[in-house]
């Protein structure tokens, strides 16, 4: 018991030493790591050199694998060791603490330990003088040896072990003998390997114990025993050997062949453990068993790892070994193989979870152990200091492994040194393992060492090792597999990427939902309530057009005021063409025709309206209205330029019955107007009596409606073309109104004297162009274009000398504004001229005898037979009417005379053919006699000597509507109306107008069906022109009036 206690004490001391060693070694190794991280460690280097061939071959096979695996594995060993060291430390401390109460029981042992240490130190000092490192290492090794020895001593009692030891000794001895022959190097290598193994075994064993240690308090005692014993046994085993080597019977022999011993030790240990387990089964739970088994598994794994590591070394060693210890090899190799197999077979089975469980248990254990450890630490401070140094030195030494080492050791004591070294190696190994194991526990880490561990761990973990550590194996394998897979995938992707083109070519628009505008939102919210959206589109094709109204058409126009000749407005774009076109398309003739007629109608209507009122007034006021009259109308002659003029002639157009021409003779009274010396012809429209239409000078006789012919007193014949524009004539503004005074368009003044009249023209007559015997057709109200354009007729003018000139009226196709150089009588711009056609001398026929009697014959009147223009009748101053023809034979009655024979110098003042019976004509004479002649007979049908009471006849006219009625005006201003059917001896009505003498008289009327009128125009001395309408019985013809007149004529003959 006391021995056991002493052993315990010793062990505690040793543990402390080891702890310190572990710490220092750990520090050392860390430094080493920092400096030699990337380089080979000496040990590895030597190993590498030795294994050159093998290594190179492997490298050739798989360079990467070698790099990633082998070298990294080696490096990895260090952190594992360190962590295991660290892990072991607290365990030991905790163990120590628990046995603290037992310390006092082992004083002797303590002394012994101190003495041993002292001895060790002496030795070390000696070594220092030669080589410090060597010495330190040796000291450390010696110290360990001491520990073992102590333990061995304590375990002497155990018989089984003794038996085994004996067996070992025998083996050792045999081996040692052989080994003596070999070099140090081999031994050292073997020792190193063995040490490592033994250390690991030891450690694993202890860990198993520690696990078991964690038991409830009540089992403390049992556990203590159970825990300590295996360890003790194990240590004893080792100490046994060492002691035998050093102090035992045959020290020299035993020391050698550490490896063999370790193998044996392992065997012993296994046996022991088996036994131990059996023992523990009795008082401990089954759990322990499983834990220990796990531990064994772990240990097995560790050993396997170690073996792997040492494979090459072993291979080398085996060469030597084979010579000396065949029998052992034969024994061991199978066992080793067996172990290896077991480990390898267990490898896959050993999951991570059990390992981790173990670790965590360890961790909790350590935490509790830390406090206890502190106390012990103070106690043994001195030792620590010493051992720190020595341990560190030793570590370096062991790793560098100088070749001289062996020699030096041999000098001291070769066997012992070898032994020490072996132990050192084992311890190193163990420490390293412990350190590595502990590095995985973050909880138990000591403050000063924690950073180192973590750093170490980080550094070491970089390279994944397949075989480095059992814990990492599966993960490493997985890592390896995943690495392979990833490289495969990488390769695959690299190859594929070359084949496949990836691009961003397409961008797909998945959804483009525009924001809802306000109107839509409104409609969506409110649009469905009582409303309906509708729209109307007229132009359906253009529903999407914004502006749908028609384009506004624009065109440019201009107007001008006052308008110039070419029009009052125009278009700049279409300037000429449009204007010309407009003029071309514009039927100006039609328009003017329309305007004329329309204006005339309007004017007539207005005039009628006014005249009616006036006549009514007159009828009521005028009491002296002639009895025959039904009403009267006055032409407005009360004009300034007509004032004071005596009307010499009133004439109605034979074609246009409403047009009346009045000839106002020149006045002698001075007036303001220049027209005084001129005779003025006024053209009136009886429907428009208030003003004359045209005013002409120097006039005598009208012809056509549009042409006015006049013979002058100086022997010229003048023609007025009424179609000429008024603007081209001299205008006079008289009063408020402007009058155009026309100059004649053509005058024969400029003609040669031979062809012109040399005496005053007495009569101008148009030669009727119509065929003889036919009535002239009724002409329209105004001269038609045909009539005017196709006018080509003859004009006859008779002068006093009996010269009858025939003129052809020619209308020029084109007016010449500049005037004609040849036709000097043509007015510039005039289009009508007279061409002298023929000349007849009518007066020659008058016998000279007659002429002598009566004076020169004067031809006063010229009349053409209306039905035959070949025959014309000339009234003379002899009271005769000559009947002549313009060409051809002379007609039978040469002249018409009164019933009395003889020629009297009586002027024929008036002569008028009946419009109904054109064979009849009336002749009025200056003596007041009136004759009715028939063309065919020389003598008159009837003769009224006293018709006018002796007064000369001024004018004599048949009425237009009744064939049997005619009017006679005598110089006494007495108007006689004859109605031959009522009374063929004297006039039916005789009206005497004394107040205002009548100077000229003419009849007018129209026998048109709807508007039959008839009347007499009286020109008074005062200048008034009075239109007297006949009363009904003078207007409306009696039935068969012509026949009655005819029969009356026949009776007369």
């Amino acid at each position: 018991m006391s021995l056991f206690c002493a052993f315990e004490r010793l062990q505690k001391i040793k543990t402390r030493m080891r702890t310190c060693t572990a710490k220092s070694e750990h520090r050392k190794s860390f430094i080493q790591k920092l400096t030699k991280e990337d380089t080979w460690r000496p040990a590895d280097l030597t190993r590498h050199i030795r294994e050159g061939d093998d290594f190179d071959r492997r490298r050739d096979d798989n360079e990467r694998r070698h790099r990633g695996g082998e070298s990294v594995e080696r490096r990895r060993r260090d952190p594992e060791k360190v962590s295991r060291q660290e892990r072991d430390k607290p365990r030991e401390i905790s163990r120590e603490k628990r046995h603290e109460d037992e310390k006092y029981r082992y004083p002797d042992r303590r002394k012994e330990g101190s003495r041993d240490r002292r001895g060790d130190k002496d030795q070390e000092r000696q070594d220092d003088k030669e080589k410090k490192r060597e010495r330190d290492k040796l000291v450390a090794g010696k110290r360990n040896e001491d520990d073992y020895k102590r333990r061995d001593r304590a375990d002497k009692q155990e018989k089984e072990k003794d038996r085994e030891r004996d067996r070992d000794k025998e083996k050792d001895r045999a081996r040692d003998k052989e080994r003596h022959n070999e070099g140090h190097r081999d031994k050292r290598g073997e020792e190193r390997e063995k040490e490592r193994r033994s250390e690991e075994q030891d450690k694993e064993h202890r860990r198993g114990e520690r696990v078991r240690m964690e038991k409830p308090e009540r089992e403390k005692r049992d556990r203590h025993l159970g825990r300590e014993r295996p360890k003790d046994e194990y240590r004893d085993q080792r100490k046994d050997k060492e002691r035998r080597e050093r102090h035992g019977d045959k020290k020299d022999v035993e020391v050698k062949d550490e490896r063999e011993r370790i193998e044996e030790k392992r065997r012993h240990k296994e046996e022991r453990e088996r036994r131990h387990r059996e023992r523990e089964h009795k008082d401990e739970k089954r759990k322990h068993d499983s834990e220990s088994r796990e531990n064994r598994d772990l240990k097995g794994t560790g050993e396997e790892v170690r073996r792997h590591r040492g494979d090459r070394e072993r291979a080398e060693r085996d060469k030597h070994k084979e010579r000396r210890k065949r029998e052992e090899d034969e024994e061991e190799e199978p066992r080793r193989n067996l172990l290896t197999d077991g480990a390898s077979s267990k490898k896959p089975a050993s999951d991570k979870s059990p390992k981790q469980d173990t670790k965590t248990e360890v961790a909790t254990d350590e935490v509790s152990a830390d406090q206890e450890y502190e106390d012990d630490f103070e106690e043994y401070e001195e030792d620590f200091e010493e051992m720190d140094d020595s341990a560190s030195e030793r570590e370096d030494e062991g790793e560098q492994r100088h070749p001289e080492e062996g020699e030096e050791r041999e000098e001291l004591s070769a066997q012992r040194r070898k032994e020490i070294e072996a132990i050192q190696r084992a311890m190193d190994e163990e420490n390293e393992r412990v350190g590595t194991a502990q590095s995985r526990q973050t909880v138990s880490a000591e403050e000063e060492e924690t950073p180192k561990w973590s750093r170490e761990k980080n550094l070491k973990k970089e390279g994944g090792s397949q075989r480095g550590k059992f814990i990492d194996f599966v993960a490493a394998k997985q890592r390896e597999v995943s690495k392979q897979v990833s490289t495969k995938q990488k390769k695959r992707s690299a190859e594929l990427l070359r084949l496949i083109d990836l691009d961003f070519s397409m961008t797909v628009s998945l959804l483009d939902l525009p924001a809802v505008n306000e109107y839509d939102m409104y409609i969506r919210t409110f649009g469905t309530a009582n409303t309906k959206q509708a729209y109307v589109q007229c132009n359906e094709d253009n529903a999407d057009r914004d502006i749908q109204t028609e384009e506004i058409e624009v065109c440019e126009k201009w107007t001008q005021h006052p308008p110039e000749h070419k029009g009052a407005c125009g278009d700049p774009n279409l300037s000429h063409e449009a204007r010309n076109h407009g003029e071309m398309s514009f039927d100006s003739q039609r328009l003017t025709a329309f305007l004329r007629s329309a204006s005339q109608v309007m004017v007539i209507l207005l005039e009628e309206d006014r005249a009616e009122r006036k006549s009514l007034r007159k009828l009521s006021s005028q009491t002296d209205t002639p009895s025959f009259s039904d009403g009267s109308l006055q032409l407005n002659t009360n004009l300034s330029f007509l004032y004071g003029r005596r009307i010499s002639l009133v004439h109605f157009s034979p074609v246009q019955r409403h047009t009346v021409m009045s000839v106002h003779s020149a006045t002698t009274k001075p007036s303001a107007l220049r027209l005084d010396s001129c005779t003025v012809i006024c053209i009136w429209n009886i429907w428009e009596p208030s003003r004359p239409q045209k005013v002409q000078c120097c006039c005598f006789s009208p012809g056509k409606a549009i042409l006015v012919f006049a013979g002058t007193s100086v022997g010229s014949v003048a023609v007025w073309d009424l179609r000429e524009h008024a603007g081209g004539h001299h205008r006079l503004t008289i009063g408020e109104e402007e009058w155009a005074f026309r100059q004649p368009t053509f005058s024969t003044d400029a003609l040669m004297a031979g062809s012109a009249h040399i005496s005053s023209v007495t009569s101008v007559e148009v030669v009727p162009s119509t065929a003889p015997g036919g009535l002239r057709p009724e002409a329209p109200l105004l001269a038609s274009e045909d009539e005017s354009s196709g006018l080509s007729f003859q004009l006859a003018s008779l002068d006093e000398m009996g010269v009858l000139n025939f003129w052809v009226v020619v209308e020029l196709p084109k007016a010449n504004e500049a005037g004609s150089p040849t036709d000097l009588g043509l007015r510039p711009g005039g289009k009508v001229k007279l061409l002298h056609s023929s000349r007849l001398l009518t007066a020659d026929r008058v016998s000279p005898r007659d002429a002598a009697e009566t004076g020169p014959l004067q031809t006063l009147l010229l009349r053409f037979l209306p039905t035959d223009s070949n025959h014309f009748f000339i009234g003379t101053n002899m009271g005769l009417v000559n009947h002549e023809t313009s060409h051809g034979l002379k007609a039978p009655p040469k002249l018409y005379r009164c019933q009395e024979a003889g020629v009297r110098p009586i002027n024929v003042t008036s002569m008028h053919f009946s419009p109904f019976r054109q064979q009849l004509f009336l002749v009025g004479c200056g003596d007041g006699s009136i004759r009715l002649h028939q063309v065919s007979s020389e003598h008159p049908v009837a003769e009224w000597k006293n018709g006018t009471a002796g007064e000369p006849v001024v004018s004599l006219r048949w009425t237009r509507t009744r064939p049997a009625v005619f009017c006679v005006l005598d110089a006494a201003s007495t108007l006689h109306v004859w109605d031959l059917l009522k009374n063929d001896a004297e006039p039916v009505v005789t009206e005497r107008m004394d107040s205002d003498r009548v100077t000229a008289m003419t009849v007018f009327g129209d026998s048109g069906q709807q508007n039959m009128y008839s009347g007499i125009a009286l020109a008074h001395e005062s200048g008034k022109i009075e239109m007297q309408y006949f009363s009904r019985h003078f207007t409306v013809p009696i039935k068969a009036e012509e026949e009655k007149l005819e029969s009356m004529m026949a009776e007369a003959f």
């Binding site: 594929l496 397409m506 797909v508 998945l510």
Partner: protein
């Protein structure tokens, strides 16, 4: 030992991804699942996820071998905001394709977009 690998980098023509078919699939599923539904913010995440899953399953069964399918479902509420979505893929235009469909409800819109990429084929090792 590892000779040059041969790859099938094109799908069979009959196995090629056909957007029309997939679009029909999407349309069917989306119509069936979404018609008449209102937008519920709580349900939508689950709904879109399940929609995507069911579309993916359906398309997987449509026989497009060697394809990896990506289905994206976006469901949103229509409240007048403007939405613009587009997608762009880094792919092999010869083999990969996409199909999309749009479903718009009175108050919901749903845009489904499936990208089909992959089709790089099996790998045959010639040893």
């Amino acid at each position: 030992m590892e000779g040059s690998d041969t790859y099938l980098i094109r799908p069979n023509p009959q196995n090629k991804f056909k957007p029309a078919i997939v679009k029909e699939c999407i349309r069917e599923i989306v119509r069936e699942r979404l018609s008449g539904k209102r937008y519920e913010p709580e349900e939508v995440p689950e709904l879109s996820r399940s929609l995507a899953e069911s579309i993916k399953d359906r398309v997987k069964n449509a026989g497009f071998d060697k394809y990896k399918l990506v289905v994206q479902v976006v469901i949103g509420e229509q409240r007048g905001e403007g939405v613009k979505m587009s997608s762009k893929c880094f792919w092999d235009a010869d083999t990969d394709n996409h199909a999309e469909d749009l479903f718009i409800n009175v108050c919901t819109f749903c845009s489904v977009h499936s990208d089909y990429s992959g089709g790089e084929g099996a790998k045959f090792k010639s040893i």
